[in-house]
């Protein structure tokens, strides 16, 4: 029996503070998209409930959409409003 497929979620800055974690492993099933990963975070981490409905997100270091598919081994990131410079 294979181990369950998983993806890694990265949280940054204010979102990491809200969730109380900056890196979380989440199970991935067929048809999982970024939105479902975010919902899973809300269910697992009480602080993550404060994340916005539609945050900036990335898959494997590239900007993504909430409707994009997440595959086993992917790195999904949720990004607070950018504030460089």
């Amino acid at each position: 029996m294979d181990t369950p497929a998983r993806a890694t979620v990265l949280l940054f800055a204010r979102y990491a503070e809200l969730a109380g974690a900056d890196r979380v492993e989440v199970p991935i099933g067929p048809g999982t998209d970024v939105r479902r990963v975010l919902q899973g975070l809300r269910d697992e981490l009480p602080g993550a409930a404060a994340l916005p409905e539609a945050p900036l997100c990335a898959i494997n270091h590239q900007q993504a959409r909430l409707s994009d598919a997440v595959r086993p081994g992917d790195i999904v990131a949720f990004l607070p409003p950018l504030a460089g410079g």
């Binding site: 990335a58 270091h61 590239q62 409003p81 950018l82 504030a83 460089g84 410079g85």
Partner: protein, 141 residues
């Protein structure tokens, strides 16, 4: 030279990195920590980044600039705790003439601020702290 740095920025080194015998115009931009934000006194900023995405994104922005204008571009951004007056971001663009150097430098700093995943936390003179959210404070600058 990496884009993200824990050490003080050297704009002279950036300008040297883009220099060349045919490039007579170099434009540099230096962004420093200012002592106020939205009417409040600021004493310190702490920068953090999503490293791999930040490096990939600035690479794409520099490549876009170098396709759009006949220039060479270099950029650097500091991470960690910075005091008022410390340089946080630097861009250098060099071309044959000033026109393309100014245009490319402006393009890169604007796109950097818009697209590169970097965050900053402000420490105010009254001892409180807050994450900077440009989408929330734009109206009160």
């Amino acid at each position: 030279m990496g884009f993200l740095s824990e050490h003080p920025l050297d704009v002279g080194a950036l300008a040297a990195a883009v220099a060349g015998p045919g490039r007579g115009g170099t434009c540099t931009f230096l962004g420093a920590v200012r002592d106020h934000h939205a009417g409040r006194g600021v004493v310190e900023l702490e920068y953090s980044a999503y490293g791999p995405m930040a490096e990939a994104t600035i690479g794409a922005i520099v490549a876009e600039a170098e396709r759009r204008w006949p220039v060479r571009v270099a950029a650097a951004h500091r991470l960690g705790r910075l005091a008022v007056g410390d340089a946080a971001v630097a861009v250098a663009a060099a071309g044959a003439h000033r026109e393309e150097a100014f245009a490319a430098c402006r393009f890169v700093i604007e796109e950097l601020k818009r697209r590169v995943p970097i965050w900053k936390r402000e420490r105010f003179a009254d001892g409180t702290e807050a994450w900077v959210d440009p989408t929330a404070v734009e109206a009160s600058r």
